[in-house]
């Protein structure tokens, strides 16, 4: 089914956003996030952006203090996911203007609205930034 989960975690390992596309219990999530974060944060810039973990492949990218981690199936196209992360960041940038960790933290609902427009049930639904952002813009106009 493609994307299993999307995590945003800062370099202290604190989760800033977690969106799962398969049902895991809270304990399972905690354990999974702990393991993945430990594995990914320990890696350096010279290492590749893919980490194999349990039945997932983690495709990750770091932006300043924030790590974007996407868990995918083993046969997913890794580079396409890697650039999808960047598309997400660019979309947030367009909305927040130079997005930072605090924006995501304090505007969690907007981050969710954007993700909701981009991914559904683990599949990519939209890649046009204008289309992704239009519902949020409509809403803001209305208030």
């Amino acid at each position: 089914m493609g994307i299993r989960f999307i995590l945003m975690v800062n370099k202290q390992g604190q989760t800033r956003l977690a969106q799962y596309y398969e049902w895991l219990t809270v304990e399972e999530r905690r354990a999974l996030e702990g393991e993945i974060v430990r594995k990914c944060l320990a890696r350096n810039e010279q290492q590749c952006s893919f980490v194999e973990h349990r039945n997932y492949k983690i495709v990750y990218r770091r932006y300043a203090s924030l790590f974007f981690l996407v868990g995918v199936d083993n046969d997913e196209n890794e580079l396409a996911i890697l650039e999808f992360i960047h598309l997400l960041v660019e979309t947030m940038d367009r909305h927040f203007g130079n997005v930072c960790e605090l924006d995501i933290m304090f505007h969690l609902e907007k981050a969710h609205f954007m993700l909701e427009e981009m991914v559904m049930n683990g599949s990519i639904v939209e890649t046009s930034k204008a289309n992704i952002l239009s519902p949020i813009q409509l809403m803001e106009k209305a208030t």
Binding site: S49, I124, M139
Partner: protein, 1022 residues
């Protein structure tokens, strides 16, 4: 409605952020949860705005990893709010917090449907997204037609249709019948004519799911996909918004090429030509550019194109172009591209015959095996394993061995297994093979399973030239101060048989060999001592002229072990001592082991495992011939290749979980076996009775000659298969055990089943005592502690606890004190070693006296097969070669199971998961199938990989086909039966187990001695 509107939420987030530590965070969160809970209690006073705010707080807390077990109703109720902001929060939070089986969610179906069929586009989008994310089967049944209408409607705008496409995908996964609509494939093809790239992107995901399950139906979509790809590749009519760093939607390109990979071939010449033109353009036209994002995006497309070219089995020229590209990639510095180069080269090996070209890159790949990045090392290892053949085996295996010393722990097991397989498969000469395996044992003994060293013994035995070499070689290793126990085993065996060939070499006199071996005796476990004893006997026999000193030394050792508590050691010591005193006759009895029969060599890989069994059988031949006649001991015999199944029958029948549905044949066979004399174990390995097997194992091809030569025992057993009338009734009547007037609290069977899935809990409880259990497992060892708690103010006396272990478990149980003081708890540790695969269960026979009440219970201990499993994820590149190499019975068994408790696939996956069998998603393209893997640990198998495939029939959930594969025939069989039992009925879901009721006719059965474990077990399970 923006954040300013939710000041409370901002304040809360700030508070959390300012927490100094986890403890503070927890306190703050507890406070907030209390607050929200209180506010929800008085729901009437809440404005929609407040509800919205609290739901966001819940979501935030949930995201931080705290359980939020309330407020679900309030969340779902926001869905029916009239205004968009509240409704939106309701839908999004519902997707995040609830799972598809939540009752509140089901109750909301009507509201959701109204939003979907309503006129408000934004509401439609919200509802479709939520259903697309977490909609369950009921949603599929009630919403599918509406969603299909939206997807195909010409009046609907793309923003709704793209969501409808993925919503339908979800519903299809929940119930594949939703697309069983006349003409659906044609409509799907029409849908691909769409110009909007958003709708196409999501429709393409839907198409991938559909064609992966049934490409036949969607042939008409194939040319459309090629058209879409052509449009993108040529950048025709692609809006700027869908162009990413100059590349027309790389994601849609990738998805489209993925869909094309599910069609086996492309027949239409013009479509094929067009596609190859596009692919050629991608292959040739992708340059490395400076911009990282552009580079990644174009290479994402390139790698997908490579995969498609491989799939289509293009002309040789294009294929070599692909290999050349990959060769370039695996040499670049950029780690992502290198990783993907290695990964795709491995895939290429699986698809086509390009080994020769790939081999040219061997040196480069070996460099990556030493890369600092573990992700890259893994890919390199897989590729090296895949590309290994006779010509390069020596180099590759040497590299693996070298790397083994420095490899991190997580990779050692895989590495050593792969090295062992390659060494055997492609050994250019046998001395090299022996060298490799000995090195492996030396460097990674923990990961070398018995069958690997059995195999060495077999080769050495069968090749006279190899014998002195192997003997000298193992002597070198064993001479070192600290050696792995497996090394002691293989050395003892080989030196026992062949050290006389070295007698003239310095340091190799019988005496010296003996003392080198004997030095190790103190360091080894009881499984190795018998091998050492045999070696001593053989050395002694070979010492000509006899050496009095050596003889008295060895006799003294035999003497010492004559009273050993371990039956195997004791028996050997007694027998060898007696044999030694026979003088000349000794020569014949202890003569060199005969050659092992060579198998048909067509299945090298299968032989690798099964022949090892024979090796072991020979190694234990003496023992087997001396076995006592007890039904339990039957299982003690190691299965030779052909007799495995018969043995398994014996094993499976010793004890049965009550919920297990077996045919009566099993029971009767079992009873027959246990009543027959135990001379079964004396029977020479014979092909099993075909009738018996086919009856018990169902649709299952048994190889080997028909049972014409079946021995009398077999006939007797087969004679019973007809039905229960042939069974000696008394044997299955339970032993009287309910003299107890004390009633247990709770259901014993349920407690047992619960403990099979978890590590600690209560095993038994009555008004006087509680028996708790705590287990800790590591590989084939389980450390179990029984907690016996006296609940009263008076002591419990005459406390007895006896463990009745099945043959496959070695158990050491500490003594239980006779008296348990008032209100005291006694802890009794129990060490369990799993010797080999079996589903038999150990029983605790426990009794005590309280006042005048004598209480006696027999409790099954949850040291069951799944406790020796460790979940493991096997990547596709490993799974498939393994799967293929285990090509058929008895290593790979298949069975159609009927009468399965109907359950959705995810539930079945969870069930397997709870037994530590891990689902490997994505390996099987058919969504109705499950592929899973696990590692089984036992002393005989060591860590052994087991692969499972379950094919379900969406039209009939009560049946499925199950295929099991592992390197050990009895493991394959036992695990298959085990899973079957779980699927047929779920023990935990069962209300009162049939345990304690004896049939009215039940009488204590005088024929069976009260301490016969088999009978006690039968009694327990009536």
């Amino acid at each position: 409605m923006t954040m300013h509107g939710m000041r409370g939420l901002s304040v809360f987030i700030s508070d959390i952020r300012n927490c100094q530590n986890k403890e503070q965070e927890r306190l703050r969160i507890d406070k907030e949860l209390g607050n929200v809970r209180n506010r929800f209690k008085n729901e009437k006073g809440l404005t929609p705005y407040e509800k919205k705010k609290y739901v966001w707080k819940m979501l935030y807390i949930y995201m931080l990893g705290y359980d939020v077990d309330f407020g679900h109703m309030e969340t779902v109720s926001l869905i029916s709010a009239p205004k968009y902001p509240e409704k939106q929060v309701g839908y999004i939070a519902t997707s995040c917090l609830l799972n598809e089986n939540n009752d509140f969610l089901r109750l909301a179906i009507n509201t959701v449907r109204n939003d979907i069929i309503g006129r408000n586009e934004t509401f439609q989008c919200l509802a479709l997204t939520m259903v697309g994310n977490i909609g369950g089967r009921e949603f599929a049944e009630s919403l599918a037609p509406d969603v299909q209408n939206l997807l195909l409607s010409s009046s609907c705008r793309p923003l709704v249709r793209k969501k409808a496409a993925l919503c339908l995908l979800r519903l299809y996964r929940k119930n594949p019948d939703v697309v069983n609509v006349d003409g659906w494939a044609d409509r799907m093809a029409q849908l691909l004519d769409e110009r909007d790239l958003g709708v196409l992107t999501s429709s393409m995901s839907l198409l991938v799911a559909l064609v992966s399950n049934n490409h036949e139906a969607y042939w008409s979509c194939l040319p459309k996909c090629v058209k879409i790809l052509e449009r993108l590749a040529r950048n025709q009519d692609v809006p700027q918004e869908y162009t990413y760093y100059g590349i027309p939607s790389p994601w849609l390109q990738v998805k489209t090429m993925r869909a094309l990979q599910y069609f086996p071939t492309i027949e239409d010449p013009s479509t094929r030509r067009t596609l190859f033109e596009v692919l050629q353009r991608i292959l040739m036209g992708t340059d490395v550019v400076k911009n990282v994002n552009k580079n990644n995006a174009s290479h994402a497309v390139l790698f997908e194109a490579l995969a498609l070219v491989m799939h289509l089995d293009a002309e040789k020229e294009m294929m070599s172009q692909c290999v050349a590209l990959l060769g370039k990639f695996i040499a670049v510095r950029e780690p992502n591209i290198r990783y993907l180069g290695l990964e795709n080269m491995t895939r290429m090996l699986m698809v086509t015959d390009v080994q020769e070209i790939i081999k040219r890159h061997q040196a480069q790949i070996i460099t990556s095996l030493k890369d600092p990045d573990v992700s890259i090392r893994r890919r390199a290892l897989d590729l090296l394993y895949g590309m290994c053949d006779v010509t390069n085996a020596k180099d590759i295996v040497e590299e693996l061995l070298q790397y083994l010393s420095s490899a991190d722990f997580t990779m050692r097991e895989e590495l050593s297994l792969k090295a062992a397989i390659l060494a055997e498969k492609f050994a250019p000469d046998l001395s090299w093979y022996v060298d490799v395996i000995l090195q492996l044992i030396d460097k990674a003994g923990d990961f070398i399973s018995d069958d690997i060293w059995f195999r060495v013994v077999q080769f050495v035995t069968n090749n006279d030239d190899l014998q002195p070499y192997a003997a000298a070689k193992v002597k070198e290793y064993i001479d070192k101060p600290a050696v792995h126990e497996t090394m002691v085993k293989v050395s003892a065996y080989i030196l026992g048989e062949y050290s006389h060939l070295l007698a003239r070499r310095p340091g190799c006199s019988p005496k010296e060999i003996f003392s080198i071996l004997h030095e190790k005796l103190a360091t080894v476990s009881t499984t190795t001592i018998p091998i050492l004893l045999s070696a001593y006997a053989k050395i002694l026999m070979h010492t000509q002229p006899p050496d009095q000193e050596l003889q008295s030394q060895i006799w003294a050792i035999f003497n010492k072990y004559e009273s050993c508590i371990d039956a195997e050691i004791q028996q050997r010591a007694v027998e060898y001592l007696a044999l030694c005193q026979k003088g000349a006759a000794l020569m014949d009895i202890l003569a060199e082991m005969p050659k092992f029969p060579e198998r048909k060599s067509s299945l090298i890989k299968r032989a690798e495992y099964s022949e090892a069994d024979t090796a072991e059988q020979s190694a234990t031949k003496l023992r087997a011939q001396q076995q006592t006649s007890n039904a339990l001991v039957v299982t003690d015999q190691y299965p030779a290749n052909g007799v495995t199944l018969r043995i398994s029958v014996g094993q499976l029948s010793l004890i049965k979980v009550p919920s297990m549905i077996t045919t009566e044949n099993d029971t009767s066979t079992d009873q027959a076996l246990s009543q027959q004399n135990g001379s079964l174990s004396k029977v020479d390995p014979q092909p099993p009775s075909v009738d018996l097997l086919s009856d018990i194992l169902g649709p299952f091809a048994v190889e080997g000659p028909p049972g014409a030569t079946v021995q009398s025992e077999h006939i007797a057993v087969s004679g019973l298969e007809g039905g229960s009338d042939a069974v000696d009734g008394s044997a299955i009547v339970p032993v009287e055990e309910h003299t107890n007037t004390v009633q247990p609290i709770g259901n014993i069977a349920e407690r047992f089943h619960a403990l099979c899935l978890k590590d600690s809990g209560v095993l038994y409880e009555d008004p006087y005592i509680q028996i708790g259990i705590k287990a800790e497992g590591r590989g084939h060892h389980v450390h179990l502690v029984l907690f016996l708690g006296n609940k009263n103010t008076a002591p419990l006396v005459s406390v007895h606890a006896i463990i009745l272990p099945p043959a496959h478990l070695k158990m050491e149980f500490s003594l239980v004190p006779d008296t348990i003081p008032p209100r005291a708890q006694v802890q009794c540790p129990l060490e369990i070693v799993n010797l080999r695969p079996s589903r038999d269960v150990a029983v605790l026979d426990f009794s005590y006296k309280f006042g005048t009440n004598m209480v006696n219970v027999k409790l099954r201990l949850p040291a069951v097969l799944n406790k020796f499993l460790q979940p493991i994820q096997v990547p596709a590149e490993e799974f498939f070669p393994q799967w293929r190499s285990l090509s058929g019975p008895p290593l790979k068994l298949q069975e159609v199971v009927r009468g399965v408790r109907p359950m959705p696939l995810p539930e079945m996956a969870n069930l397997l998961d709870s037994f530590r069998i891990m689902i490997c998603p994505g390996l099987d393209p058919n969504p109705n199938n499950l592929v899973a893997s696990t590692t089984f640990y036992s002393e005989s198998t060591h860590a052994m990989l087991c692969l499972v495939r379950i094919e379900t029939d969406p039209a009939d959930r009560t049946q499925l086909r199950m295929t099991l594969a592992s390197g050990d025939p009895s493991l394959t069989f036992e695990l298959k039966e085990f899973i079957k039992e779980q699927l047929i009925s779920i023990p935990t879901a069962r209300s009162p187990a049939p345990a304690p009721k004896a049939p009215p006719t039940a009488q204590p059965t005088p024929q069976i001695p009260p301490n016969d474990p088999a009978a006690i077990l039968a009694g327990l399970l009536s």
